[in-house]
């Protein structure tokens, strides 16, 4: 059990150009900041990214887009990113837009060893084009395939040296599903603790799914849409 690596550079050292990556996070919430920085530094390209969103121009996956490292995005919503728009319109970037619940469930299917799932979303829309449709109990469902990702890259709140992960708040989102789905799963954590410190009842992703883990650093945790109310 030697899962702990020194940092993001070591964790992502063998990700080749052309790889398919799952990347956790919803908007900028819960994104693997350290690994994204290391991927940008390493300069690999032709990547396929399965991620609910594509970051913003100067943060998150937006940094990878800026360096033109991404060949294809598989996402549910990509509307926060001018560079993304430019690359898409110029044909430099492919994009596969799929419903958010379908995205989540196709990740889950991979982690649960299910090759495909029957889902409601998209029936009667262009999402259904070319897909098998079947009626169960009077409702129509689409057959959607499990994702197949070379690497899953997630950020967790706490993790132990065995790879057990715990997420915080809505930073959980897609990350546990992706962690369970990757052929190789890399987790960066805000708090890396010795085994035995986490309550086994509270683990969101058991260590069996996690291959590499490291203590992350310098988290910016940028807020995309700061919304507040006045006191009083």
């Amino acid at each position: 059990m030697k899962k702990v690596v020194s940092g993001a550079d070591e964790a992502i050292h063998d990700i080749p150009s052309g790889a398919t990556l799952m990347m956790g996070g919803f908007g900028l919430c819960g994104i693997p900041e350290n690994c994204i920085a290391a991927i940008v530094k390493k300069g690999i390209n032709n990547l396929t990214c399965i991620s609910n969103n594509a970051g913003v121009d100067d943060f998150g996956i937006g940094l990878m887009l800026h360096k033109r490292q991404v060949k294809k995005m598989i996402s549910s919503y990509v509307g926060e990113n001018a560079e993304f728009e430019r690359q898409l319109l110029s044909g430099e970037l492919e994009v596969d837009l799929i419903p958010q619940g379908t995205l989540a469930t196709r990740c889950m299917a991979a982690g649960y060893g299910m090759p495909a799932v029957w889902l409601l979303a998209g029936i009667g829309t262009e999402v259904a084009e070319g897909k098998e449709i079947r009626n169960f109990n009077g409702k129509e469902y689409l057959l959607e395939m499990a994702f197949d990702a070379d690497f899953a890259i997630v950020k967790a709140w706490k993790g132990d040296t065995q790879g057990n992960l715990i997420f915080k708040g809505t930073a959980r989102n897609f990350s546990p599903l992706m962690a369970m789905a990757g052929k190789v799963t890399i987790a960066e954590v805000e708090h890396l603790v010795p085994v035995g410190e986490l309550d086994p009842n509270e683990i969101h992703v058991p260590g069996i799914y996690v291959h590499r883990i490291f203590q992350g650093k310098d988290y910016e945790k940028r807020i995309e849409n700061r919304t507040v109310r006045k006191k009083g």
């Binding site: 619940g101 829309t125 708040g169 989102n173 006045k230």
Partner: protein, 218 residues
């Protein structure tokens, strides 16, 4: 006078029942949370993985790990729970959410909705909208009755790429409240100061006026 966005939200809030689990979309639907009637206890679901969403945080108390599906900073109420996105859409798909309120670009008189894409303009993606409309058992649309050009958004057929078919149960616009029925839009309430004739003029889809149509109370 046509309703303000706040009044649309307030009218929709009257549909809330005690014990409802409710998913509110981005835009006018988000405002519904401000008008939950006294004595009605509802739990707000945010599809990015939260049940028990509370109001926006006070300034300085924002938590980057706590946002809603519109990526706004939020808070939680006591009794809240976090979960992953598969469970979130699982509970939507399994019909556990009692009411979903969404915005729309177009609604057809058969209950179809278009709210995710304008061809030739940039496509931002459907986010969770297609999952919500395909699975929610009770969906109300909150929107303006007409687009900025003054064209009806209540149509015989959607002209934009649709998000879901036969799924909308009710539409609340700045002009009135409409049930979707086999006969098309059934106007059951008109906004104060709005005439049924104005509604007829501005509705392109099949429209029937309920016998007991009445002025909306907001």
């Amino acid at each position: 006078m046509a309703l303000t966005k706040e009044q649309i939200a307030k009218r929709i809030a009257q549909e809330l029942q005690d014990g409802f689990y409710v998913n509110l979309g981005i835009g006018i639907p988000t405002l519904v949370a401000n008008y939950i009637p006294e004595g009605v206890d509802v739990v707000l679901q945010s599809e990015n993985g939260l049940l028990g969403m509370g109001p926006f945080p006070y300034e300085g108390e924002e938590d980057p790990d706590l946002i809603n599906a519109g990526k706004q900073t939020v808070t939680t109420i006591p009794g809240s729970a976090f979960f992953d996105s598969a469970m979130s859409f699982g509970m939507i798909r399994a019909g556990k959410v009692d009411l979903t309120v969404l915005g729309a670009m177009e609604v057809a008189d058969n209950g179809d909705i278009a709210n995710w894409k304008i061809p030739k303009k940039l496509v931002k993606g459907m986010g969770g909208a297609m999952d919500l409309v395909a699975a929610a058992k009770n969906i109300i649309v909150a929107m303006q009755h007409t687009n900025p050009k003054g064209e009806s958004k209540l149509l015989p057929k959607c002209t934009l790429p649709i998000t879901g078919v036969h799924c909308i149960k009710k539409v609340v616009t700045d002009l009135g409240v409409f049930d979707i029925t086999p006969e098309g839009f059934r106007c059951i309430e008109y906004a104060p100061g709005v005439t049924v004739d104005e509604i007829k003029t501005k509705t392109l889809g099949r429209l029937v006026i309920a016998d007991d149509v009445k002025e909306m109370v907001v």
